[in-house]
Amino acid sequence: MAFTAISEINDDIAKITLSGELDASTAPIFKEEVESIAGQDISKLVLLTEDLEYMSSAGLRVLIFSKQKMGADVQLYVVSPQEMVLDTLEKTGFHHSVTIVDEYAAVAR
């Protein structure tokens, strides 16, 4: 499935909806979206990953990039990751660096 990354900003929350397969060939698309958000006055970056089917090492890099690009003041959320993505986040320890939630409502609270 083709990869897409669509971003949207509401108040101080930036959302990026990811779908398809995130690997070395598609990571630049995601990275570009992150860059377009960086520098804006937001406090939360929310990645909606319900339809993200696969994440490779290069995909993980963009998450790291997102966190470092946004800085320590911006909280990074991953919403409803599929099992493969969640598994990868856990094994590589990156789940400590982000907040993983089941649904978007948990972010807004």
């Binding site: 490779s56 090492s57 290069a58 993980l60 790291i64 094994k91 590589t92 320890g93 990156f94």
Partner: protein, 709 residues
């Protein structure tokens, strides 16, 4: 205007559909550069070199690109290849050149060779999956991403004398289902991360991992004729790639994320105050002897990388077929680059060098007075805060405990500590030598101005019996290794307490537990750095096998149910470790002076026996006691409690007269192994006062530790 892309790196050459450019010789290996990958490899004797590129897991290469002659600078072939899908890429090299055994040249362009500087490796992605032996490229170099979210992590730089090391094997630690962690994490780096709370509770502040550089568990794999079981190269003391973490040790190995998983482990260990030391094997490689496989070095530059006899055979100082030519300047740089990489990229806190004496031999095998490699490592700016620990002997007969070229930096696995403690614990009369070992072996190290922390004190390690087996077996029982019990050390200095192996005899079992407690009590009050072997705190057994290098089964896997059955041992270890941490007088930075230099009225250390102030140094003495003056802690810079340790390795109980304390202080009992659990040990700080302040009866084969406060 913003400039987002480099304009100075662009293709100048073409090969088929691939765009190329002259590369940079440094760094060696495959490095991501804007738009491409820089490949650089050294060979002093090759006549040509070809880069071989594979799509991940593909049987055949997608392209083979000969290095244009103008891309060679000196002996280095370097080239940038543009527009590669580097995440799904595997690469290797073919080298052409002379093939002349007597001259030590093994060039063979039919072989595809892995990169000596490869940062991750495919081919053995998942532990224990039988390889396809027909694969033309078994160990496939891959490219690693550089970034990791380290946040503010860096190596902990714990003072050497404050370390308490736990030696462990990645897979053995959590592979058994009794570990209780997620199945996918069992036996992996992620599994260790899950068990950090356990390590923290135990109190160790450094883990030392048996080899984690990529190795081939199927190297020399064979079927045990007696059991039909597959025997593997399980421990991994045979490196395939010095820069790559073992993919099979990562739950994410099949995704190629082993570097991330290991880094996540390091970061989490550091957050919990635990350092990570790697057991590194630079003495030989997995290419073995003349019959071994050609993986990398042999086909790239055999004569440079290996020590060869004048006839072209491999010297075998390692006991493993070949010997890496560590004091050749090229190999020396490889070792240095490798360790720098692990320190910088993985935030590794220290290294333990397997058979380190080989690193001090010249290219013809003679020991050097001033080995350049050891000196370079000692003075390297990037490794400046890393612990450097030598296994100060080799299989070629060089034994350098106490004389390893140290440059003020190197610590040593103290084999003499191990042997002396083992003899003393089983009841041999060795009080004179014991006194040296308890003090951090000043007889070995003080003369050269080396600190007590030079001595890595241990009673058990991966080689040899576990502590439970040390008190349960007189001899080794290695039949399961399929070598007719000929492998493994015959000199174990062990005692079975009256019965060989498992027994129902309650008296023998009680004695064994006491002996285990005696051992850890002595270890934790010794000056120097204590190291314990994974599982000894749980009474782990390997059923008398003292060389379990080949078993991927319960013989090696830690049985976590022991935590329930042997909770008294765990508790004893835990409190002994906490006691050591609570008392700086046990962790001195300099050797004792045997005098009072702070005006306390007591010398820094005093020796006693069954009579206070009167140690029995006679050749058949089996009792020894010592007292540490708390005012001399760390050369008088700390005020600590007084500590008195009495050791009775005699088969009869003995009355120990206690040395008097300064007015107002009393003796309190921290531990007495002669008393049944739980009164055998107290949480540090809660020690009850001793009723009789002038003496105590110490049971047979027992150790008591008192605190004067």
């Amino acid at each position: 205007m913003t400039i987002t892309e480099r304009i100075d790196i662009h293709p100048t050459h073409n090969y088929e559909n691939y765009k190329l450019r002259r590369g940079k010789p440094f760094p060696f290996g495959a490095t991501l550069v804007p738009g491409g990958v820089n490949f650089s490899i050294f060979s002093s004797h090759a006549t040509s070199c070809t880069l071989v590129l594979f799509k991940k897991h593909a049987e055949q290469p997608m392209v083979e690109i000969p290095f244009p002659e103008e891309f060679r600078i000196g002996n280095v072939y370097c080239m940038v290849v543009f527009d590669l899908d580097y995440e799904n890429l595997e690469y290797g090299y073919r080298m052409d050149g002379p093939n002349d055994f007597a001259a030590g040249q093994w060039f063979d362009k039919t072989k595809i060779l892995s990169d000596p500087y490869g940062k991750i490796m495919g081919g053995r992605d998942v532990w224990g999956v039988l390889p396809d032996w027909n694969d033309i490229y078994q160990h496939r170099s891959r490219i690693v991403f550089d970034d990791f979210d380290w946040e503010d992590d860096r190596p902990l730089e714990i003072e050497p004398e404050d370390q308490i090391i736990y030696e462990m094997h990645v897979r053995s630690f959590t592979r058994d289902a009794s570990s209780g962690i997620k199945e996918k994490h069992q036996g992996t780096f992620a599994g260790i991360r899950d068990k950090i709370p356990y390590l923290k509770e135990l109190g160790v502040n450094a883990i030392e991992l048996m080899p984690i550089f990529e190795f081939d568990e199927f190297e020399n794999s064979r079927i045990n004729p007696e059991t039909g079981e597959m025997l593997l190269n399980y421990w991994g003391y045979s490196t395939v790639d010095f820069f790559a973490p073992k993919a099979g040790y990562a739950a994410t190995g099949k995704l190629g994320m082993q570097a991330d998983e290991l880094k996540a482990l390091v970061k989490e260990l550091h957050k919990n105050g635990i350092e990570i030391i790697l057991d590194v094997v630079f003495n030989h490689t997995a290419e073995g002897n003349e019959q071994g496989p050609t993986i990398s070095f042999r086909g790239i530059d055999n004569k440079t990388y290996y020590m060869l006899t004048p006839e072209g055979y491999y010297f075998n100082f390692s006991g493993c077929g070949n010997t890496l030519n560590c004091n050749n300047p090229i190999v020396r740089n490889l070792v240095l680059d490798c360790l720098r990489y692990w320190a910088e990229e993985y935030h590794i806190d220290g290294f333990r060098f397997d058979l380190a004496s080989i690193l001090g031999r010249d290219p013809w095998g003679f020991p050097l007075a001033n080995p350049p490699l050891l000196e370079s490592l000692a003075f390297d700016p990037i490794l400046a805060k890393c612990k450097l620990i030598a296994e100060a002997w080799d299989a070629g007969g060089l034994y350098q405990v106490g004389s390893f070229p140290a440059y003020g930096r190197w610590a040593e696995w103290n084999g003499k500590y191990r042997d002396t403690l083992r003899k003393f614990i089983k009841g041999d009369a060795t009080v004179g030598e014991m006194a040296q070992r308890l003090q951090g072996s000043p007889d070995l190290y003080a003369w050269e101005g080396r600190a007590p922390a030079t001595s890595i004190n241990f009673i058990t390690a991966h080689d040899g019996f576990t502590l439970m087996d040390l008190v349960s077996y007189n001899g080794k029982h290695n039949q399961a290794n399929g070598e007719n019990n000929n492998d493994g050390d015959n000199s174990n200095e062990s005692w079975n307490c009256g019965w060989e192996g498992v027994t129902d005899d309650p008296a023998i079992n009680a004695l064994r537990r006491r002996q285990i407690k005696n051992a850890v009590a002595m270890l934790m009050v010794s000056q120097g750095v204590p190291m314990i072997l994974m599982g000894d705190e749980l009474g782990r057994t390997k059923h008398g096998n003292n060389n379990t290098y080949c078993h991927d089964n319960q013989l090696n896997w830690l049985d976590w149910q022991l935590l329930e059955t042997n909770v008294d041992l765990f508790r004893f270890f835990k409190h002994c470790i906490a006691f050591r941490k609570a008392h700086p007088v046990l962790r001195n930075r300099q050797h004792f002076q045997n005098q009072d230099y702070v005006g306390s009225g007591y010398a820094d250390i005093t020796w006693h026996g069954t009579k206070a102030w009167n140690a029995d140094w006679s050749p058949d003495s089996r009792s020894l006691a010592f007292m540490l003056c708390g005012k001399h802690a760390r050369q008088g810079t700390f005020t600590d409690n007084y500590i008195y340790v009495a050791m009775n390795v005699h088969w009869q109980a003995n009355w120990f007269e206690l040395p008097g304390l300064p007015t107002g202080m009393n003796w309190h009992v921290f531990a007495n192994t002669g008393v049944p659990s739980p009164a055998d040990i107290w949480q540090p700080g809660t020690e009850p006062q001793l009723e009789n302040q002038t003496g105590m009866l110490l049971g047979d084969r027992s150790v008591a530790i008192l605190v004067g406060k």
